[in-house]
Symmetry: D2
Subunit: 356 residues, 4 copies
């Protein structure tokens, strides 16, 4: 490869933006050429504007970059990929305008995720949905393209469900989540509300999990995604944990299978990103632990550099019916659940498009 | 009432023991006459032996009591009720011996809870199971009696389920818990395992919830309890919260009902302890909150002096079927879930027996 | 007493404002007649506008009060005392205007605390500084009056220092604080910054402690306060604790004294508020603990209903000189350190003025 | 180098033992040949016996090692260095016996640290004290040798003090610590004591800080260490932080200096380990931060792979005298403060002895 592809990061000072910076700053294919944040930060050096909360130090060269405008007209034409970590309230307008102007937008923000012609990609789960791009281009007449990665909780959940769906079929899913505070952004959860406490509600989260999962686990047929015929109910809570969403899952399979077979199916799972050896693809997307007390957020969230999910406590919920199983799944919410996923989507796209 | 009944507290230095002390020290019917703890503490003053962790100060007169032996032969004959907060590994032997010697034992410890002739009482839920005492006396030929109160998580869960069972009928229950560290006792959860973390496992807890609930929600028929024909699956986790177990519950009812009807049914629920105006009975056993982000452990655990449970976020889980509802319930694990329940059981017993 | 005095609470929805409401709602002398908060809340019921975070429930009657404007012209003339928990950036202007209009303002906000003619009162420590009111009225030609209570950390520190100053004389004070998150207000400390972490800085706090202490511990001479001839250095940090500031204090006395004498002096300390039996005055302003591991925020912050401070670990710091002692002091930051103090100031004032 | 030196780790399952394993498992000079733990673990594989709490995964090859006895007679003769992370109550006897048998013992345990002929080494601070070995061999007639590294808090403190002592001279030091729970070992701090709380006492810690610092900062003269003529007073507390001790330091210098000069002196400090480019030596032993709110445990503890300390908030404490300064220092307690220090001591020793 002669040159790296040039990328922009919009919303670079937020928690997800910081993860984008961290994961991109030594990336073999991509180089950060443009970082943008809100009005108040424009013109400042990144390091003077960000409250850097990632556990590895901010690289000096990135720290010295000047923050630019996120306005579509300001983005240089030579940017190959625009990563968006923009807040929901401004994301849609900017991303639509960018696509019109010909940019390839890979976005972690929530608007437009459920649009029929916009691929919502969790790379190992539904990489083939990227084919929606053709539909999108045709319908929208854009030179550019918008690709979305899922909500954090959904990304972790659907990765654990995919092999079960393929091998055994799924009927009902009931999931309760224990989500880290980083998922709410820097100022999302005041400390006085979470020390010695649980907040049993996260605005909009349950709808996202229920709706996005249907699309991601759906099948691409005749240029559109047919939602999976599964039913999901989610209850989401916020817990005093820095990083790592833990999800307690009950699943009704189409028929009964042994715990061993289920565990094997999960841990053997690989998909296109592994096959293509994409730089950000974890060797093992799903790590299965057999200890009685794992996964744990603090100890397991960085497995596979934060891109693997960890499944544990797989067992049968036989009392409620032989086809019911239960397990716990953990994933790093700002890596597998956000910036890492988006970067893996971008890798998949540029590889499949032959840009690299 | 001329004289208070004399009570003993066994296992008085543990966290549940401390709650017994707190709740009994100004009790209108009971007075603490004997406190016992493990060998190493015998002969010391209570205040020199306990790591007092209750948020109200240790009463001076109790603090000065001398700790006695928990051996059955050491308990004075004039003790009317023996409250047991003994650790599981020693509880069974001591309690059986006490009952043989003629004592009335009200016990929070887990052994024997599932014995067919031993009443397992969550006062508002199955006060009528106290009638098993007759069976017990007949079968065991004891002069005394053993009555159990349930596991903490079970006590909270079954209280929320009882009105639903009665009014609507229940089929399946799927519950995920977020449990406070006080439930594990003083040394149960090392801080290095729980700061910025979740432990997704509590030894024996899920079996207790699944099994005890069946007995508590069961019907007394022909001198034995016929387990409820409900199926339960529980997943239990430990979270960084001091007091208050939060439980996320999915329930399949026998037929569909509106959220309003369900909420009304829960909040109107009263039972024998309220009818008898027992001293420890909360005026409202179930408090229903309609805010989107309640109940929360730190803010709601002391409702009804820790004896009420708080239910919130009641809604339909329509995607998985019209008969499914979901809600969150919170209860104080060492009050409603342990010492408070036991004391309410004792109050019920002495009232029904005419001892007061 | 025929009628209660009518009070207003400005800034009623903040954390200190909530403490005012809690402490005033059953007050024997005062009744809440007016509550004000920021523009966005005006016209709403209090309970619909506040994120109530106090551990006792919001009284129904207060919850139904309508929030009014904090603009001086809006405050009814018949209000006897205006309690101000206004944010610093708006407090000064409003309070000055209120005093001009004839109101008695007792304020917890920081502006004006160091003005020579404005009494800065920690009731047990310098109640006699209330005499500055005469100077104030003369100089400012106000019909009303402004009285301030100190910064939270300062209130706790100076109460512990007062008996030492009087009995032994003080030279140097070096204090390191571990402060609760409630001191920063509802949104002051994002949870992602404080879980598994310490923030070793609190804006403006060290200056407040150093400067306000000099005034509070100073002597009233010839109508002005002569600052104490003591020198103080403070380092302040924020820790993951809900309520309760803990302060580690090294003190150089004027001459050497035994630990026993020092402990006795602290625990025997009483002052005017105790002498007058003011409703909010704790029986013992300073509680001395002799256990090696006390005071602790969670266990000791509510001593004296949050109005006592708790001193422990008193010992000689002999290695750095015979006159040096060290101890730890804990106080409830929003009660003794804010709303409770202000109410006690008001009680003192109305009693001394014969208004009650 | 043909072969790596063979090392043993005693007390390998504790938190410090785990850090030894983590830091040694890819060490360029040392290879782990023997791991020992308490009786109950002997014969088990390491991975089956340890509660691995380090944030990086346990290497497979180490996990499969069998745990051996820590009894001196069991240690193979070909072990070049024995690292001891033994609990205090058994360390002394075992270490003395090992030295008699000819082993080189580098020990993190507290007994014997103050023995005049036993070097107590904080590598950058007093590497030259290693010369005490000659005295030790002569006096004890051992074939082997015992070298100690300091208490965690002391290691961090004295590294920050050394350049100040050398450049400016020191008179008085007053230090208040906020220490992480990992310093107390796996079961040292029950979670119920530390959530929403501070424990203002750590058994024996203050004496260790005060006494060990004198020896470490002392001068080697005529075969013995002459303690530094400095006076120290320490107050130590436990806070809800996983790793990283934060220390708030007031220092009286011999004469006045500017903050700039002090900051420069700290950040330029290098010593023998840097000169010799020892593998575990951080490039910058002391990192100085100029932001107003640093260092913070969670964000800064891994600087220099946990071997650097981070100093911030340097300022003059002018109010208590022109020669007084204050600053905050943070260090990783189980790396710089324990296992990392010990390994650096061993590197220094084998380099200076020409063993490598």
């Amino acid at each position: 490869m002669v040159d790296k592809l040039k990328v922009a990061v919009l919303g670079a000072t937020g928690l997800v933006g910081q993860r984008f910076i961290q994961l991109l700053c030594n990336h073999p294919w991509f180089e950060i050429n443009y970082i943008a944040a809100s009005q108040a930060s424009i013109g400042k050096r990144y390091k003077d504007s960000v409250t850097w909360l990632v556990e590895t130090p901010l690289p000096e060269n990135i720290g010295n970059l000047t923050i630019q405008s996120a306005e579509p007209e300001a983005i240089p034409k030579n940017i190959d990929i625009v990563f968006s970590a923009l807040p929901s309230n401004v994301a849609e307008k900017i991303e639509l305008s960018l696509a019109k102007r010909g940019f390839t937008v890979v976005s972690n923000s929530s608007p437009l995720r459920l649009e029929p012609d916009i691929p919502l990609i969790n790379p190992e789960v539904n990489w083939d949905h990227l084919k929606l791009i053709k539909v999108q281009k045709k319908k929208r007449k854009w030179k550019g393209v918008i690709i979305k990665n899922p909500n954090c909780t959904t990304a972790i959940l659907t990765l654990s469900l995919k092999p079960l769906l393929e091998e055994f079929g799924l009927r009902k899913i009931i999931v309760t989540t224990l989500q880290a505070v980083s998922g709410a952004g820097l100022r999302g959860v005041p400390s006085i509300l979470i020390i010695d406490n649980i907040i049993p509600f996260i605005k909009g989260e349950e709808e996202k999990v229920e709706n996005e999962s249907m699309k991601i686990l759906g099948k691409l047929e005749n240029d559109s995604v047919k939602p999976a015929s599964i039913s999901i109910s989610a209850m989401t809570t916020r817990v005093p944990v820095i990083d790592g969403h833990l999800e307690v899952v009950h699943v009704e399979l189409l028929k009964e299978h042994s715990v061993n077979v289920i565990a094997d199916t999960l841990k053997m799972f690989k998909s296109k990103p592994q096959e293509l050896s994409l730089p950000t693809a974890p060797q093992k997307p799903i790590i299965v632990r057999f200890e009685e007390d794992r996964p744990q957020p603090r100890l397991d969230r960085l497995e596979g550099k934060g891109m693997s999910i960890v499944v544990g406590r797989i067992s049968k919920a036989a009392k409620i019916g032989g086809k019911w199983i239960k397990y716990i799944v953990l994933g790093h919410n700002t890596i597998r659940g956000a910036a890492g996923s988006a970067i893996l989507v971008a890798e998949l796209y540029v590889k499949l498009e032959g840009m690299i």
